[in-house]
């Protein structure tokens, strides 16, 4: 009983915390973001397992987490209106080379972040080469270049 409750509580709390933090928080932009993710995992692990390191406990926790995940996706299929709340929505950041300032500020994305994504994903050099930049639900920035010519 304990293991299932623990897993459920942690799952829901993490869901709420990361939705509040915004999609940019876990996007692993810098090395430090990655380290942070590891530390968070480490901190969660203890609370998930408690003092019980048995295989039974581990399996119960894993099964609960997976089933919650499946359950949530089924709920979303049934009630599509819930999806934005649970998984966020994509957001336009650049339209035809023009940065959409409000969207960028509110999502904590700088011009440098955009150019970084443009370089690494599309090999672009300047903002005016970007047709669209979208902040995806995963926190990644996707770039659509202007057609050359």
């Amino acid at each position: 009983m304990d293991a299932v409750l623990r897993a459920a509580v942690i799952y829901l709390l993490l869901l709420v915390i990361f939705r509040i933090a915004g999609k940019r928080s876990l996007a692993q932009i810098t090395t430090f973001d990655f380290v942070l993710l590891l530390i968070i995992g480490e901190a969660t692990q203890q609370a998930l397992l408690g003092n019980d390191f048995s295989i039974t406990n581990a399996i119960l926790v894993i099964v609960t987490l997976i089933m919650l995940d499946i359950g949530f996706s089924m709920v979303q299929e049934r009630f599509p209106n819930l999806t934005p709340w649970l998984e966020d929505m994509p957001l336009l950041l650049v339209e035809n080379g023009n940065m959409l300032k409000k969207a960028m500020d509110q999502s904590r994305i700088s011009e440098a972040d955009l150019l970084h994504a443009a370089r690494t994903l599309q090999g672009l050099e300047r903002m005016d080469q970007i047709k669209f930049a979208v902040l995806e639900r995963t926190g990644e920035i996707s770039i659509i270049p202007k057609e050359s010519g």
Partner: protein
Amino acid sequence: MERIGDIEINQDLPFQTRQWNIQRVGWAIMTLLIVAALLGVFGSGPLSSTTAGDNETVAVHYERFIRHTGEGDITIAVAASQAPADEVELRVEASWLDAVQILSISPEPAEFLAGDDSHVYVFTVDEPERPFAVNIRYTPREMGRISGGFTVNDGPSVSFTQWSYP
């Protein structure tokens, strides 16, 4: 699916704005949580450490807020006037001993007498008429409200309540 220029995207700006507002509220709540934690609302801090009883007779220094399976520390300070003999009897409510697991008691009690509603630890004192303190390290086994009480030598009794977070 909405279409902006050439791109098909299920963007919803009113929803985004609402979400941003909720996020700001969430950040405020998390900031408050951190401040509360620094102050000791979730254990170990100025708001948590407190004393029951009084220094003239028996004072119990304890933590108001503890955490399930965390570690707690409680000190029972007995004034000189309350320890006239070379033995000090510390009566502990059984309800408290059921709710926590004792990790260590210092000094070591010489004797333990189990009772119905309370148990008694007997300590041998080197010199009577001297202030005497017992320190108990424990870990809460229960969550929620935990109440306890100590009685020294059938004299003054001090009771206290703690809150054990999950």
